[in-house]
């Protein structure tokens, strides 16, 4: 544990915990909408922002937030139109994003190490001012996702019903898109653009193995995210492994444990089937009357 006496390790831990809490709080809405992989796509686009930031000598994270937000809004607009060409448009955006990122980083004076830091995360290089950005944006995401839960639940659960309820569906969808972009960008330093989606999705997937309601799933997913982030950083520090990969592997391990425990509990709880009352016959589907 002595490692955590060093300020850079403390910053790494706090940054990871904030992301571990905020990412599943947003991710649950994406999973419910069947957009579990959207974070991955936005991450690809964010990389172009990183490249542009490095090339222009501006803060890569700031430029990435802007570029990723634009990308996420574009994805949302394509999705809202709901035509089949949507997934091709998304593919163009994703691959364009990562290719643009790699090219721009190459054009700047940065080494391949800095590209790696954004691709796979680099917790130990978080500076105090980075931590402030992560903490403030992470808290903003968390509060928004919790405060707007009924409305966001409604639009993700049944968008047409939400429209007939008079909810500002388009605004909330765009808010969700921008929140995704912001989460991806702040999580970029911790787990890297290639692994961000895991922190948004895996804790939710694990939680829903054993939960019954939306609110309990959200709480459980945030708890698991916090656990994965904390234990992942600890493993990375003690075993000297890559922090992003360690955090994600801890999340997947917790998924496996929860899924197995849930299956075991259901088996134990299953009571012998009571003799059912005689099933009532289904009415005929059609009456053929050709007499």
């Amino acid at each position: 544990m002595e490692l955590f006496q060093y300020p850079y390790m403390q910053r790494a831990l706090i940054g990871a915990l904030v992301i571990g809490l905020a990412a599943p709080a947003l991710g649950i809405y994406l999973v419910q909408r069947r957009l579990a992989l959207i974070g991955d796509g936005v991450g690809h686009v964010a990389l172009t922002g990183v490249g542009a930031g490095l090339l222009l000598n501006r803060s890569p994270v700031l430029v990435a937030v802007i570029v990723a937000s634009l990308g996420a809004i574009t994805i949302e607009l394509v999705r809202a139109r709901g035509r089949t060409s949507g997934d091709l448009a998304l593919a163009l955006l994703f691959y364009g994003g990562i290719a643009g990122g790699v090219m721009l980083v190459g054009l700047s004076d940065s080494t391949s190490a800095s590209l790696n830091a954004y691709l796979f995360g680099s917790l130990s290089t978080i500076k105090p001012e980075d931590l402030v950005v992560i903490a403030v944006l992470g808290a903003a995401i968390l509060l928004t996702m919790l405060a707007l839960r009924p409305a966001l639940f409604a639009i993700c659960h049944d968008e047409e019903y939400a429209r007939v309820s008079g909810l500002p569906v388009r605004t909330l969808n765009l808010l969700l898109a921008v929140a995704t972009a912001v989460t991806v960008t702040i999580a970029m330093r911790a787990v890297g653009v290639l692994l961000i989606s895991a922190l948004m999705v895996v804790p939710v997937a694990a939680a829903q193995q054993v939960t019954r309601g939306f609110r309990s799933t959200m709480t459980a997913a945030m708890t698991l995210g916090l656990f994965a982030a904390g234990s992942g950083v600890y493993v990375a520090a003690t075993a000297d492994t890559a922090p992003g990969a360690s955090v994600v592997l801890m999340a997947i391990a917790s998924f496996a444990v929860v899924a197995l425990a849930g299956a075991g509990w259901r088996t134990l709880r299953r009571r012998p089937v009571a003799p059912a009352t005689a099933p009532t016959a289904e009415p005929h589907e059609v009456v053929l009357d050709r007499s």
Partner: protein
């Protein structure tokens, strides 16, 4: 004279150049229970989706409570019951959580639920006979119970107009009865109903007027048509195998 609740004037709806509704006019006034009947693909679902603004009109106009649809903002006066519960992405949700969405039109996006909201949700759950399932995940309910959940969601908003899209299609007898009871209470309280139906079943005594949609136009507007031939047999279960659904984009 009371303001009409729904006024559809010369409405036309097309989809990819194919006309689904042409020159449809319909007025529903307070307290009426209007059933929209018709074969699969006749455009009856499209008609109520156009009334709610879920489908853009090609021509004509729709007014709700005397307000043109474009300017209509009092959505809490309307309770909408879709054909079925969306599958969602697999995140569980309890029956109570789904029903609580029905309060959003009244409460708005930012205000947290208060005592009145919780009371309305409980009352709606009780009225459809699902109070004992409130904490269960909706995915574990039968089709009929899921349909009752959707009706409870609409009732929770304490609307003046209920719009229902095939509320009894493929629903078990117990759920149909529970649903008919809830609807009867709603009508007794002065509510107005517009529903699309393939068969009326236990709802039949409640219906004050029937509108038959055929090939995109209104073929009949008046009393509920009497069943003829073997359809009149009290044991005849008027269920057809379902044809291709109307295009999902509508």
């Amino acid at each position: 004279m009371t303001t009409p609740v729904i006024t559809v004037t010369h409405a036309a709806v097309g989809y990819d150049g194919r006309a689904v509704l042409r020159d449809v006019s319909l007025t529903v006034t307070t307290g009426e229970v209007v059933a929209v009947l018709g074969a699969n693909g006749s455009g009856k679902s499209t008609l109520i989706r156009a009334v709610l603004g879920l489908v853009p009109l090609g021509a004509g106009s729709v007014a709700l409570f005397g307000q043109p649809l474009r300017r209509f903002r009092q959505w809490h006066r309307i309770g909408y019951v879709p054909q079925r519960l969306g599958a969602g992405g697999g995140v569980p949700a309890t029956v109570r959580e789904v029903v609580a969405s029905g309060r959003l039109a009244r409460r708005g996006v930012l205000r947290p639920p208060g005592r009145a909201d919780r009371a309305a949700v409980e009352a709606a759950l009780t009225s459809v006979g699902l109070a004992d399932r409130a904490g269960d995940p909706v995915a574990t309910l039968s089709g009929g119970q899921q349909q009752r959940t959707l009706i409870a969601r609409a009732l929770a908003g304490e609307p003046e107009l209920l719009v229902l899209d095939e509320p009894t299609a493929g629903v078990d007898a117990a759920s149909q009865e529970a649903f008919a009871g809830a609807l009867k209470d709603f009508v007794a309280g002065g509510g107005t109903v517009l529903l699309v139906a393939h068969e009326l079943g236990p709802l039949r005594p409640l219906i004050s007027r029937a509108v038959v949609v055929h090939a995109g136009g209104i073929a009949h507007d008046g009393p509920v048509p009497e069943p003829a031939g073997h359809h009149a047999d009290p044991d005849h279960d008027h269920v057809h195998p379902h044809g291709p659904d109307e295009p999902a984009g509508l």
